[in-house]
Symmetry: C3
Subunit: 481 residues, 3 copies
């Protein structure tokens, strides 16, 4: 278990490096001071920094610029704000994409993903790893001794894509060879006699693109998840070469990512961390008005779903966990914009703490003025001036300050264990046991089956009219399959 | 016309070769005995074997294993069960896909279909043909004299894809050159003056990928159907070099396949055969509850649709036909699972026989435990133990046994002929004359127009409340356009 | 401003070159006489010719056939019918596509559009330009002095695709380099610090295929529109080298094309021209029954939408304009076929004239018997015999003849200006501020916001029952953003 402060950490992701772009007239040190002072006023105790800007850390191949973060860490430390420092490997600089196009990820064999978003790189490729390792070592060596740094986040929401790159597939074949020993054993285990799929040698294995055999598919998914786990573990081990003993290492998990097996991955880390995003406004009403056929995605809807995500985070290590990101306000694209009602920040944060959250860290301090996420609302709005959201957050900060150690490290008191099976989910994504109303297969089938068991008590209590946020919550903590 | 027994053949597709994978502990000869004895008890008179496992017949390029089928044929013969033996060309072994990747089919020029399903090969490619011919000759030569074998099935449900491979397109150009003689004749016939599409020489013709000219499209579809017909005829001729005179040659047709022109193809065979699949449960109710906008696919819904498919099979040669495959139980993927009500096996089988079926052959004997079709229900369930389905099938077997020659070779008594035009259907798939409710073109337009004429009497009788399965059926047998 | 006759021009697009294909027995000169005489009877004063048949003008690379049009121009002139002659560059001959496949357009980098439709060529490619220029010069030089020719149309409905071809993208980078001067200025302007997108050099810029950065996207769209404008201007300048001073140069604009910026493009021309297509039958009813969520595409629905398109055409140059194409009858594919009610031709034509149309030119004289547009109804039907549509059109022709100069060059009397912003529209297509009912982003958001302001008065008046076509129309003429 990680060494953590005795209180619940409270704060936000902070991108001071965006300030000069926002307003070239403004002196960055003045904005930094304003921001940090506002944070102190809101009882912030933590910020997360540095994980999104490899091209700022290393503007050209081999030319590093590491000093820009120093004033942020110094300013935080002066004010008693702790810092989680991230490695920037999820966002690859354009110069690296240009010099080694072979690292470009492929979602179908031979078809490269376009650049211009994030996580487009085949993170298993040695040319990627070489450069990733170099920038990680530089950053961590530079700042490991800074007294503000309490922990490290390696990468960010890993496992977005399933990569079909040549090297990945060839290592999949090697993995099968090692696991099954000889080809006839694999033929038998996968039932490859069917439709003439018996292999005569390892080189016969087809790529996953057109595969329809379920046995192949589940093995492929397991292998993909293992790649992500290995990558995160590899980063964690590098960081630990430099980190002080009391600093923890984690990553932030988006639990619905295709490539994630949170259980095994969290074993490579000191603490589990997750990024629960949820709809505010009526998405947090009780009784829950969400239709049964609503599909939960990276952002969930319904109070029960927020508890479910919390239990999922807890279950990764059966321990309290960190909320590395959660919505500071309305979250998502411009066509879906629902800022919370007064009090909903409290509702959500206390719910997470009640299920084991040791940190509530908003994404992010200020709403972005450029890029793909300009409608992901921050604690401060586009203008950078405190408003209603800041007031709500500050009110909550004061509560956490008052509660102190009393609420840090709570563990849910569960009467029921629910087994969440990754291989079953993967298989049901390929061959769903449920259909949509129009008869098409429903790739969300696993959750269609799993979720009602989680949701029911809340709904029933709500119907009887006796529901309070405390009493109608299920006590189920997730087990592992 | 094929030489057939005086009774209606009754049986199932049988894959003894899967047994060792199901249960490595079990002695295969014991399971074989159990299976065949159960078949005898159900009055089975026929099984189909061997068509799905090229990689079992030829595990490596040029290494053949032909003996594994011998005990199946011997055991069947001992019990008076006839055998239809299939050529395995629809499922290409991985070693062939690896050694000659140029045989991989393309649905768009230059974009190869992935492997891992079936029928991915451009069956016109010489490298495919060379290997297909060799394995066909080996299998047929080995078993033509076995007394159990009454007929041959070449390939399986041909015509799944329209292939855009280079060789196919070049032969399309050659075909047009032969048909139209000179380029100006083609320019005029296709109206290529429009939008500057006039060709100056044969090499000017564009590939079909982006084509929007209807005249081109219908010629392309005709050419594609001709490829399938030629392939099946080529196989049939090879088989006839070895087959005994009384053995018939057929293929099993999925009548909705894009590449199929059943009329011309059946001319190359001794008897027409089809694979009618239909929804059980309410799919066989009268009055028919199927909504008017239901789209019939490879599996149809509604009693009338089952009769329509039967008449389609009859019309291929205007003769009685074989049902080479039909559902032994619930058919289709795991998200749509509706095993029949008691009596529905009888309802369907007698309907087919009444329209000219000389054989009812279920797909398949036992539900698969692996592969893409593990929810295609068999006569036996996953466990291999007889249950309700077996009992229903056995009951029907006893009825056929009792009816004997009286019901073999019935021909529908049709007052009305309906002309089914393939070129019209193809053109209406590209340029549908009907739209969907949202205004989008409806590629099922041909059947939207054709089917109501077939369906109406049944619906009307049903409404008047006087419907019985016998009296409310239309008498229309399909004609040919 | 172009030199135009004092009356409203009235006519149709005419493709005499299709006649031999329609009926090889018929002497083309006889059909030509029949057609032109029928036009005179309908008071036609203009035809548009020649723009669709590059492969007729130049059947092989460098072999030209320019004389075929002579009898059409002569016959028109003899009857007092003016001619607009088009350059045929929107439809590339197959021989050019074969000889220079590198001109094939790409909608994604490296993925070539198939041939067989139209506008598949990257019109910026020098190999395309070389051949386009040659054929333009030949045609214009040959016919510039013909007394029937009053104007030129260059190309046809340009801007169908956004081209990702290598050359286009490289010139996009050059354009940015010129505009921003140095890379850091671009980094700052586009906020590329976000997600590590900072460029180290111009070669770092990623192609647009996977881009998710809005700043990039709007720059890309502006650049694409500029390509179309430059192409049309380039053609106009070539034509002007030969044209007589009183001849105008225009192109026909489909205002919803992705690549079009009508304002800047029309600055390169002598008059703005557009192709308003609209639904007849209930599409022209008042009160307007069109549901609010109907999406307007290239063909609009609702009387108000027809006025809106007219105002858009007017606003391109804030001047009267030409209707180069409009439906002669039911327009669109075979699955949506709604020929007008009696009187609707008058309703639409007078509406356009009232908003500034100096010409009403139908597309087209006779319904096509081949090709992709065989259900785009002409003044004459497939048979070539005059019918109801001809009678309606002729009635209208007589009215225009009678009205004479009185109605030519009307300008709308607008109380309100509406600003239509192309960059805002482009950005809202990528990141829509509105969602569809199912929560998905709605790329038609810009018009969802813009259109109700245009539509409302008409709807309100209609509801009060006091609506007449004159009184309930908005008076808003489009301004420009």
């Amino acid at each position: 278990m990680a060494v953590l402060p005795a209180h619940v950490l409270f704060g936000a992701a902070y991108y001071h490096e965006y300030t000069p772009t926002y307003d070239p007239e403004l002196r960055p040190d003045e904005r930094l001071k304003t921001d940090l002072d506002l944070m102190v006023d809101a009882n912030f105790t933590v910020i997360r920094v540095g994980e999104s800007v490899w091209s700022t850390w290393e503007p050209e191949n081999g030319r590093f610029d590491l000093d820009w973060l120093q004033p942020v860490l110094d300013g935080a430390h002066e004010r008693g704000i702790s810092v989680i420092l991230g490695t920037p490997t999820y966002a690859v600089p354009p110069w690296l994409a240009r010099q080694y196009p072979e690292i470009t990820g492929e979602r179908r064999t031979g078809e490269r993903i376009g650049w211009g978003a994030r996580q487009e790189a085949d993170f298993t490729h040695p040319a990627f790893r070489f450069h990733a390792e170099r920038v990680i070592r530089r950053i961590v060596a530079r700042y490991a001794d800074h007294p503000a740094v309490i922990g490290w986040q390696v990468d960010n929401e890993p496992g977005l894509h399933l990569f079909h790159n040549h090297g990945v597939f060839q290592r999949f074949v090697d993995h099968l060879r090692e696991k099954y020993g000889d080809i006839e054993t694999l033929n038998r285990a996968w039932g490859l006699v069917y439709w003439s799929h018996r292999l005569s040698t390892w080189a016969d294995l087809w790529t996953p693109d057109g595969n329809e055999q379920p046995q192949y598919d589940v093995a492929w998914r397991e292998f993909q998840a293992r790649q992500v786990t290995e990558f995160i573990g590899w980063q964690a081990d590098i960081v630990r070469e430099y980190a002080r003993p009391e600093q923890f290492v984690t990553t932030c998990i988006s639990y619905t990512r295709n490539g994630v097996e949170d259980d095994e991955m969290s074993d490579r880390l000191d603490i589990a961390s997750g990024n629960p995003y949820y709809d505010m406004q009526d998405g947090l009403l009780l009784p829950d008005p969400t239709p049964d056929d609503h599909e939960q995605v990276w952002k969930t809807t319904g109070v029960w779903s927020m508890y479910q995500t919390a239990d999922w985070m807890f279950s990764s290590r059966q321990e309290p966990f960190l909320v590395t990101e959660t919505n500071a306000n309305s979250i998502g694209f411009c066509w879906d914009n629902r800022p919370g009602y007064d009090g909903q920040w409290r509702q959500a944060a206390w719910a997470h703490v009640a299920r084991g959250a040791r940190m509530i860290e908003y994404w992010q301090w200020q709403t972005l003025r450029f890029g793909a996420e300009t409608y992901w609302g921050g604690v401060l709005p586009h203008s950078g001036q405190p408003g209603r959201t800041y007031a709500e957050v500050a009110r909550l900060g004061a509560e956490f300050d008052k509660a102190g150690p009393l609420v840090a490290g709570l563990e849910p008191d569960a009467d029921i264990a629910m087994v969440y099976s990754m291989p079953s989910k993967w298989l049901m994504q390929k061959y769903p046991p449920l259909s949509k109303p129009d008869g098409a297969p429903d790739p969300a089938s696993y959750h269609r089956i799993f979720d009602p068991f989680y949701r029911v008590p809340s709904t029933r209590a709500a119907r009887s009219g006796s529901c309070t946020p405390g009493s109608c919550t299920t006590r189920a903590a997730g087990g592992r399959g």
